[in-house]
Amino acid sequence: MNNQSTAILAIVLLLFGPIIQAQTPSDPLLNLPIQANFQNKNLLEIFSSLEASYPIQFFYKEEWLTRSPKSLSAEGIPLREVMDQLLQGTTLSYVQYGESALIVGRQFDLAELSGFTYESFVKNIGQLDQQPLSERIPSVVIGDSLIRPLPSTARITGAMYDRESEEPLAFARVTFPELGTGTLTNSLGQFTLTLPTGKHFVKFESEGFEPLDRQLLVYSDGKFEVDMIYSAFQMEEVLLEAEESGQSMESVAAGKVEISMIDLRRLPPLMGEIDIINAILLLPGVSSTGEASTGFNVRGGNIDQNLVMQAGNMIFNSSHLFGFFSIFNPDVVSQVSLYKGHIPAQFGGRVSSVLDVDIQDGSFRRTNGTGAIGLFSSRFAINGPLKLKRSSYLLALRAAYPNILTGFVESTGDIEASSAYYGDVTFKVTQKIGEQGKLSLFGYGSQDKFEFSENFGFDWDTYNVGLNYQQIFSENFSLRLDLNAGRYQSEVFNSQEGNASTNTMGVDNLHSKLNFLWVPSYKHTFHAGVEGTLYDLVPNEERPLGEFSSIIPVTAEKDQGLELGIYVNDEYNINNFLSVSLGLRFVNFQNMGPFTENIYEPDQPRSDETVIGRFTYNSGESITSFNKFEPRVSMRGLIDESTSLKLSYNRMHQFIHLLSNTASATPVDIWQVSNNYFPAQQADNFSLGFFKNFGGKAWETSLEGFYRNMQGLVVPKNFAELLGTPNIETEVLNAVGEAYGAELNVKRNFGRFKIEGAFTYARSFRRTEDNLGGENLNDGDWFPSDFDTPLDLALTTQYQFTNNQVFSVSFIYRTGRPISAPENILELYPSWRIPIFSERNQFRIPDYHRLDISYTADESVFKSRKFSSRVTLSFYNVYARQNAYSVYFQRRGAGYSALQVSILGTILPFFSYSFDF
């Protein structure tokens, strides 16, 4: 056969996947006896010789056949054996084409041709010819392609890896859309499925990696591996996405958001560092009270109503430096999931949202490192195998060092005497247990310190240690066990003469969770398990500071509570159009002794003066107990391929309160478990969402409405004194709350220019009620919560100049948060002038808006990941808006003036250099 015809057929063969008759032992051609005597010839010469001697035609690409096989000398052996021996040790294989032709090619390409009739090839070749080259889907062969007869089903076992790091990809998605089935990889990156033999289209997806489409040619049981490409190498990936592209429309969970670390890297960094909390603040329904505010608010909830988990450990303060950074080290985070609507029954203990941050395992195969150097902070992480392919380690360090910088400037007075820093360390050791098990030890520690002019300051620490065990018993049954312990502790000192003091407070916790995952079929995914949390409060303790302090040491009563939960949740795909997630959780909470509980005069406001007795509980004795059921329901209906409707309802309970009496939560707010005076919080969350994609999935839009009703809240009284108060129940009032709103999200997720806009209109209110003696705020009427910001707009755009240069812009607008403001001046004898404030939250500070830009140049597209680097230049608050953190009122002459405190009231340039190796 001449080269031209060979080339033509090779193109047809390799590009369009035609087909060929199946080879069977009875095929006359393959049984054709051959007289072979091939020595020192390459394959091309051998095939040419055979073509010349026998009625055979070979189709091939010449460059494949340059190899010389071992010498072959035989008489009368079948052509099949000749071909097998010639191609032994190569990547080549062959298939019969028609009655007299053999196509020689690479195994995968040839296998794709198997199982089809010549007629089907002829029938399909016209259509295939129309397909552009780029849409050709590579194939993967599973099992023995020569086995006959083919079994009806085959059990396939696969594994997904990061191609560069060779690390397994946990919780990656494997979907067979035509079969209507799929699964997730386990923590070892493995999955197992039983499929009909034949040709199936499959889609592999993992957060942060390019989606991969393949055709599986399943002949019999077999294994295969898939290497995914890290998206960092492809800057055309999505920036900030609600689940995968298009998944927000398809997933059954309303209001679930997954954030990839790639997304984070493209957002304008604050102070040169990317940050998870700052990223989720760009999502609709998520807000904060402003710069330098701890935590975040979701759909009108308090910051303590968010369950924040890191590697299964509870986090009680997710902020560094008052919220400029979060405690999550972006270099070690593998997955971030925010549940702000439907919360599956696997999660409990908070009524508003769940932020679940998972930490990656260290590499089992090679040592990797990553780090960044910035003006204010630097970080470094290293991970690698302890024992090749069996155990690994991960160690990450971060530190901010503004103190060092202050030494370079000519500052005096308060600035010179002020300091702020934070540092944290994360480690994880992972050991594989057999082929289907994994044991991890995780640890985290962080310290924050802030001092102002030696007059006052704070420090707060978080320590977590956790043991995680995962075991896969079969292709559809696995378990995960978490055992965690943690401590959050904070301290404030005040050097004010006469009242110089220190206050310490915090919360210890022990947490365990056993979760079973059972996937009996593609239609059902069951989660069931038990969870227990022991809250052991570090009592607020006030101590005098210095010899002239008049402060008398006070220590609040130590308090503790045990929360137990049992749950089951099924995600049920009823059909291609309707899916539901049904869950039920039962929780029991017990407030336990030892404790001395005050008894107050009936029908009188609680105060130190109305204490009429005390009741002492022994260690472990139950003081009060709550038993609650929590139904969780979410439903998704696909109206058509691009449109869906979602409904969800959750009832949630929470048995711990964060007591705060400042404009924004601070590190010295006090945690308090539920007891006879602090009720259990309860929220009923409703949401309704309409999702629509346009232009395929190029444009994704969603409109979600929500309503939340909250019971069992507490709010501080006017002039509540939380620190140094032994009977803290005297400082709060019972309250209820409600929040409602609509969230519109529009995202263009295609091409070099991407844009996402999130617009939220939402309200959040509180009302004091059921307080003894008629003690209420605002006459018992509804009033806006501290974080009620009706209008919230976040706009993020990204333009990719080249494959490795991205320019990002983000703009935020938010209604000013509510405050109380003076309405009158009271002149008291002899000449004291006191501002008389309005009832709570009747005014608002000025609206907040800000524009940030950043430019990122990523070298990794050009270089091996053995060492890649990235440079980011960003400008925070480009037009130097002096946003109000708070407004206060100060006497000026005869009256009072309103003064606005701005935290970052100017443009701030930042530069960082980050690297991976």
Binding site: L375, L405, T412, N661, T662, Y829, I836, Q900, L904
Partner: protein, 345 residues
């Protein structure tokens, strides 16, 4: 690069960026009823006024009133001036009794204060002072090193019942003798810890204790003689809470960590059908013990320097506010000087 560093440091100086903004502070007009009734000569007045929103212009309200003792009318008040009611000088309140104020305004509204149990006076054993170095900050954030004079009271705190003691210290009639010959005078020192020093008995250890009261900068007022005059009022809990909350409102600087301000409710309510929701002010009935501490030049172990010998101060502002001069003379500082010695001098 240095500028870059400076920009970066700004976030850590949280109140470094403070600007005045327009804010609609116009509130409703409210009735204000306040005053202190004690047995001290200067504390026997009740004021009845009306605010006109936030501009702090008070207009006096004509009214009649009386004081109830243990629920019965005890003394009718007389009106020495518009908007003022006074108690006769020979009517002395007594510990152990409850007192209330009743007022009727010319507008036809009636008001009544909550009943207060007058607490017995608490004896101040003595006052003392010491001097410590300090770094002081002016309104612009600049700092300078100076010395503070700290004043202390010495009390004998009982073991039993101390948690029911509420101390309210006032500093009245503090004078410094100033020799700016040919002018000499007694200059009133604006030592105004607002509204007073407040201490809960439960926060003090039983026995003899030294309680920090206040401090002031060691300045030229101490060159010759300085006289601290304190009054210790024993008040009940609601009164204590009112002053404590007022102190918080005044000292609120709007920083990240200041407590949320709240509505400061007084102890006077409108009575009758046409109830006004909020009445501003507070009426206090209390007894006080007075303690004085003279401080003479000879009490210092070092030589105080008068740096104002050659200082030239700018004139007062057109609105009459004092010039920002630390070397003010007797005749041009606040108008609080007198050539007549205070009665206790």
């Amino acid at each position: 690069m240095k500028k870059l560093f400076v920009l970066g440091i700004i976030p850590f100086v949280f109140w470094g960026c403070i600007t005045e903004i327009d804010f609609d502070l116009q509130g409703e007009s409210r009735i204000v009823i306040d005053g202190v009734i004690s047995n001290s000569p200067g504390e026997r007045f009740i004021r009845i006024r009306r605010t006109s929103g936030f501009d702090s212009l008070y207009s006096p309200v004509q009214a009649t009133g009386r004081i109830l003792r243990n629920g019965d009318v005890w003394q009718e008040l007389f009106s020495p001036a518009a908007g003022t009611l006074a108690l006769r000088s020979d009517a002395l309140i007594q510990a152990g009794n409850t007192y209330q104020l009743e007022v009727e305004t010319e507008e036809g509204n009636s008001y009544r204060s909550e009943a207060q149990m007058v607490q017995p006076p608490f004896r101040v054993d003595s006052l003392s002072f010491d001097i410590v170095p300090a770094e002081l900050r002016d309104n612009n954030g600049n700092t300078r090193f100076s010395r503070l004079v700290r004043f202390f009271a010495h009390l004998d705190i009982p073991i039993e019942g101390r948690s029911e003691l509420y101390f309210k210290w006032q500093f009245n009639n503090i004078y410094a003798f100033q020799d700016r010959r040919p002018i000499t005078c007694y200059l009133q020192d604006p030592l105004t810890r607002f509204p007073a020093t407040l201490i809960r008995g439960r926060d003090l250890q039983p026995g003899n204790v030294r309680v920090f009261l206040a401090s002031t900068e060691l300045n030229r007022n101490f060159l010759i003689r300085y006289n601290v005059n304190t009054e210790l009022h024993m008040v009940d809990l609601p009164t204590f809470n009112f002053y404590e909350n007022a102190t918080r409102l005044v000292s609120n600087q709007g920083t990240l960590f200041d407590e949320l301000p709240g509505l400061l409710e007084g102890n006077v309510k409108q009575v009758g059908e046409d109830e006004e929701s909020i009445v501003l002010g507070f009426v206090e009935f209390s007894l006080a013990d007075t303690a004085r501490l003279p401080i003479n030049r000879s009490d210092f172990t070092f030589q105080l320097q008068d740096n104002c010998e050659t200082a030239t101060c700018p004139p007062a502002a057109p609105d009459g506010s004092p010039s920002p001069c630390a070397c003010a003379d007797c005749g041009d500082f606040f108008g609080r000087e007198t050539e007549i010695p205070p009665s206790y001098w």
